[in-house]
């Protein structure tokens, strides 16, 4: 059922229960995100997509990527409260991974020169869970997952040994917004490339990324191609600005 909602004064009609970020995209309102991807279920971990929603005389901050739309909602994406909270999140991210180009660009756009928080040791992973979710939902193998909690939380394979289900598709490399999963030549067979992220051990692609002649199913390949195209366009955008 289509319901009307108002995004920054613009009236949009979207399906009831779908995330309000879809309405914003439809209205052409930009909301920054790091953990959101159309192909995956919303996760709500980066908190960058915070917006202010007025519904039933209540005014509150929600993550737009996983907040279901209802009729009569009014969404504000650029109020002082939203700006303040986004600024805080970007500052925290900047303290966590000061080397990442995407986050530095984001901070620059918001006018943040340096983070007020103490810098941690070099870490490029923001725990957005994109690689984990893509591996589970689209690739369907769940080779990598999140482990531990709090400041020790990290992307890891079960029992921290080489994964026996990884197919070496490289999807995690492409979908990672910060580029912390690299593709490196395999030590044993340098002709093949595999993914590397700290101590994470994943297998190389036996087909050497000749995706056109891949025996994998078509749905996965189509999604993978979308991801790669999107990755290349974002990558170009960021490198050009640099």
């Amino acid at each position: 059922m289509k319901v009307p909602i108002i995004v920054d004064g613009l009236r949009v009609e979207i399906d009831q229960g779908t995330p309000i970020i879809n309405a914003a995209r439809k209205a052409g309102v930009f909301i920054p995100t790091l953990c959101y991807h159309e192909a995956l279920k919303p996760y709500g971990s980066c908190r960058l997509c915070m917006v202010e929603v007025v519904h039933d005389k209540q005014r509150r901050l929600v993550t737009s990527c996983n907040f279901p739309a209802e009729g009569g909602m009014e969404v504000f994406t650029d109020t002082s409260r939203v700006r303040q909270i986004r600024r805080m999140i970007v500052e925290l991210l900047l303290a966590r991974c000061p080397e990442v180009l995407m986050i530095r660009t984001m901070a620059k756009q918001m006018g943040i020169e340096s983070s007020m928080f103490k810098k941690r040791e070099a870490n490029e992973c923001i725990l957005c869970g994109l690689c984990v979710r893509f591996c589970e939902e689209v690739v369907g193998v769940s080779a990598i997952g999140l482990a531990n909690r709090g400041i020790d939380r990290e992307v890891a394979t079960p029992f921290k040994v080489a994964s026996d289900v990884c197919i070496g598709c490289g999807a995690c490399t492409y979908i990672c917004p910060t580029g912390c999963i690299e593709m490196v030549p395999d030590e044993k067979t340098p002709r093949l490339r595999r993914m590397k992220m700290g101590n994470l051990t994943l297998v190389p692609c036996t087909n050497n990324y000749q995706c056109e002649s891949c025996p994998r199913e078509e749905n996965f390949l189509a999604e993978m191609k979308n991801v790669i195209t999107e990755f290349r366009s974002t990558y170009r955008r960021f490198t050009e600005k640099k």
């Binding site: 984990v132 589970e136 769940s142 080779a143 990598i144 997952g145 999140l146 482990a147 531990n148 909690r149 890891a156 394979t157 079960p158 029992f159 289900v165």
Partner: protein
């Protein structure tokens, strides 16, 4: 762990994904820890990815992937216990048993852990061994307390607060 035993646990929980925590608690209740082989078997039987199970196991502190001793020693390091000298007690236990926090003695008798509060601040400094609470512990008392457990005489002392 025997396959029949795991199967009976899984059956008790009706092979539900939502009861994975309960299943692992039951396994840990028998084995004192979660053996890798058992988790792989559970993952296969439940058709639940191993990464998901590993995520849950590493998230909750109650689960352990390494074998634990018969007696869990929990040294309270909360505010009241800390002021009462919990750190000296901890040092003494470490020296007596030759283990560090989170480790198990070689004879699999004791595992040492620190906790942030046991909720019985009036008994500070308090140490919990298994289900028993030992109140107002001083380093001098520790050898006696531990010796009782090593010898197999478990003292039944529950906090009355």
């Amino acid at each position: 762990m025997k396959i029949e035993k795991i199967d009976s646990i899984l059956k008790k929980h009706e092979y539900r994904h939502s009861e994975i925590i309960g299943i692992m608690q039951d396994v840990q209740g028998i084995e004192n820890y979660l053996p890798e082989g058992t988790l792989r078997y559970i993952s296969e039987k439940l058709e639940l990815s191993l990464t998901r199970i590993f995520d849950i196991v590493t998230f909750y502190k109650a689960f352990s992937l390494v074998p634990r001793g018969r007696h869990m020693i929990k040294v309270c390091c909360g505010t009241a216990c800390h002021l009462g000298g919990a750190m000296q007690n901890l040092d003494r236990i470490k020296r007596t048993l030759h283990v560090r926090e989170g480790e198990t003695t070689e004879d699999r008798m004791f595992s040492l852990e620190t906790v942030n509060c046991l909720g019985t601040c009036a008994l500070a400094p308090v140490i919990q061994i298994g289900e028993d609470y030992h109140d107002a512990v001083i380093p001098g008392k520790i050898d006696n307390i531990l010796a009782a457990y090593s010898a197999g005489h478990e003292r039944q002392e529950v906090a009355t607060d």
